[in-house]
């Protein structure tokens, strides 16, 4: 009886939370959430390095023009399977400010693996000024900062379409099936074939969206693999 009571309480507690989460996601309008089978879900979940590398490419070529990813450093790319030389080469393509030097001057130098990924804008005001007044959110934690994170991001990226009859879409707004309220300030970022993959995998809109979501999940929860590995060893240890 006691065990049943504990379980009932825990389950009801969790379901209450789950429901409050759903209530937050539903801000009006019809919201469609596509459920995908991610390699990182489940207790044995793990990241797919090839997919993350492709997703990183999508991030750089499609998202990085507007969205920063400020908690990620170049050195973190080792998790994606890049070796030290490759990471140094990727970092060196960016210029970051350093200093002051001996003369008290700030100067620009090529980025090093220990540097954070540079942001596309100097500050929020510049970001707004370049985006019709809307602020493109930082993507470091986006996969954890939305209810049903990865499924939601994927649904959002593939969720653009024509507004149904009777829905008025104002200038500078776009219709999206997954976004709360259906009107989003971000123009459709992925149409398919936006980037060219070197590994020859599909570059249709679904594949690109799934890859970049995979990358963003890793960016939000880089310790997921080690967490689940320790979890399996802790909970199922004979």
């Amino acid at each position: 009886m006691m065990l049943k009571l504990i379980f009932t309480t825990i389950i009801s507690a969790i379901s209450v939370l789950g429901m409050s989460g759903t209530a937050t996601a539903a801000g009006g309008g019809d919201v469609t959430l596509l459920k995908k089978d991610w390699s990182f879900s489940g207790i044995f979940g793990h990241y797919d390095k090839a997919s993350m590398q492709r997703g990183f490419q999508v991030y750089l070529e499609v998202c990085a023009g507007c969205h920063s990813i400020e908690y990620m450093s170049f050195r973190n790319l080792a998790d994606l399977g890049y070796n030290e030389a490759e990471i140094k080469a990727i970092a060196a393509e960016y210029e970051v400010q350093d200093g002051p030097d001996e003369d008290g001057e700030m100067f620009m130098r090529p980025a090093r693996p220990a540097d954070r990924m540079p942001s596309p804008y100097r500050n929020d005001n510049e970001a707004r000024a370049n985006n019709n007044g809307a602020l493109p959110p930082d993507l470091s934690l986006i996969a954890k900062a939305r209810a049903h994170g990865p499924d939601y991001l994927y649904s959002l990226l593939v969720g653009y379409g024509d507004a149904p009859e009777g829905v008025d879409v104002p200038d500078g707004m776009y219709y999206n099936n997954a976004y709360s309220g259906n009107l989003i300030a971000m123009p459709q970022p992925i149409y398919g074939d936006d980037v060219e993959y070197s590994d020859g995998t599909s570059t249709n809109a679904e594949a690109l969206s799934a890859d970049v979501t995979h990358f963003l999940m890793w960016a939000a929860e880089p310790k997921l693999e080690v967490r689940k590995r320790i979890g399996v060893a802790t909970v199922f240890f004979p």
Binding site: M2, T9, V16, S20, A23, G27, Y71, A147, G231, V235
Partner: protein, 408 residues
């Protein structure tokens, strides 16, 4: 109780001057514990364990945390990404907070069911309610520290409640904030107090245990122990039983920490605090939802605040509201029905607290709130008078032996 009972001369020398071994011996071997305690009596030790886990992980987290509005969120992310096993320490801290409340709620409902608050354990119960209040304050301030959206807006909503107090309300809120909005001074004092209060809790826990040891544990039958035949020593019988509970607790905690670390949190708290943008629905942590529902059930702000605090304050006078001489619900057939109704009512309030305050949810919240107060203020006093209770066994050993014989 003389020091002579210890054979080790070092132990004897120390114990003669500082009787710590006598105290331990008293707790483990001499302290009589009713022999019929069931697993519902595990939650006290589990709450103690939770407090220890919270203090240990919290001290480690504080080593890498920065209490400043510009750096708090980032320092938490640094803990999650760059501090060795920082993610593990933080997820343990986050999830044990929830488990602490689960365990304490079960502990409270155990006390309600078996009448553990009744004479001569009134002060034991009241100290427990004090611990519960301190826990709520500590948890609230801890949730503010990561400085996410829910941290900021939760702090804004809850501190603003005090503005409902007539005349001095606004001044109190300014005093709490250390300024004219939730800002850096607020975060700094919350961090300071969040570090202090667990040790206050530990102090009240000691008083709680001293009060417990005065008359010993209540038991599922709710009658006093009448002698040696009714009791067993705490060690090894209840130490081993507590360890079973600890194993179960740690297993469930591990499942949460390793597989669902964010299930009991809110995604909005991974968005840095932004005073210019209010979240669509501001909800507190799940363990506050029943009280949040009571707060919102009342259309008047001051009334809501009074009722919310009243919901806890009522627990202080519970020993004098329920005057039935029978403690355990096992012998109170009508009380037992109302106990389970209260349990359902509390779950319902928790559910409603997480829903937007509109439409049917408001009506349901009002009904559930009314029932909560009705239970304590009307039903319990009436039951004390009108309920016909079942006959009580003569001693604890009598029904225990009776079931043993029946089982054979």
């Amino acid at each position: 109780m003389s020091a002579a009972k210890f054979s080790n001369p070092v132990v004897r020398w120390i114990d003669h001057r500082l009787p710590v071994f006598t105290m331990l011996d008293h707790t483990a071997n001499e302290y009589p514990t009713p022999k019929n305690l069931n697993y519902m009596w595990n939650f006290g030790s589990l709450a103690g364990l939770s407090l220890v886990i919270m203090i240990v992980t919290g001290i480690v987290l504080a080593m890498s945390y920065t209490a400043h509005v510009d750096y708090a969120f980032e320092s938490v992310e640094r803990i999650m990404r760059d501090v060795n096993h920082g993610w593990l320490i933080r997820y343990i801290h986050m999830n044990t907070a929830s488990f602490f409340f689960i365990v304490v709620y079960l502990h409270i409902f155990r006390g309600l069911y078996y009448g553990s608050y009744k004479a001569p354990r009134e002060l034991l119960w009241i100290l427990g309610v004090v611990i519960f209040l301190l826990m709520m304050a500590t948890a609230f301030m801890g949730y503010v520290l990561p400085w996410g959206q829910m941290s900021f807006w939760g702090a804004t909503v809850i501190t603003n409640l005090f503005s409902a107090i007539p005349l001095v309300g606004e001044s109190i809120v300014t005093f709490l904030w250390g300024g004219f909005s939730v800002d850096n001074p607020t975060l700094n004092r919350f961090f300071s107090l969040h570090y202090l209060m667990p040790f206050l809790i530990a102090g009240v826990v000691i008083l709680h245990i001293v009060a417990l040891h005065r008359f010993g544990s209540n038991n599922p039958i709710g009658i006093d122990t009448k002698g040696k035949q009714d009791t067993i020593s705490f060690h090894p019988y209840y130490t081993i039983k507590d360890i079973v509970g600890v194993a179960m607790f740690l297993l469930l905690l591990s499942v949460a920490v390793f597989f669902f670390p964010n299930a009991m949190g809110h995604p909005d708290n991974y968005i840095p605090a932004n005073p210019m943008q209010t979240p669509a629905h501001i909800v507190p942590e799940w363990y506050f939802l029943p009280f949040y529902a009571i707060l919102r059930a009342v259309p008047d702000k001051l009334g809501g605040v009074l009722l919310m605090f009243g919901a806890i304050a009522i627990l202080f006078i519970l020993p004098w509201l329920d005057r039935s001489p029978v403690r355990s619900a096992r012998f109170r057939p009508v009380f037992r029905i109302f106990f389970w109704l209260l349990f359902i009512d509390a779950i319902a309030l928790g559910y409603l607290g997480g829903k937007p305050a509109e439409g049917i949810y408001v009506t349901l919240s009002r009904i559930a709130t009314a029932w909560y107060f009705l239970h304590f203020l009307v039903i319990l006093p009436m039951l004390s008078v009108f309920e016909s209770t079942k006959p009580l066994p003569k001693s604890i050993s009598e029904p225990v032996l009776a079931t043993t014989v029946a089982a054979e």
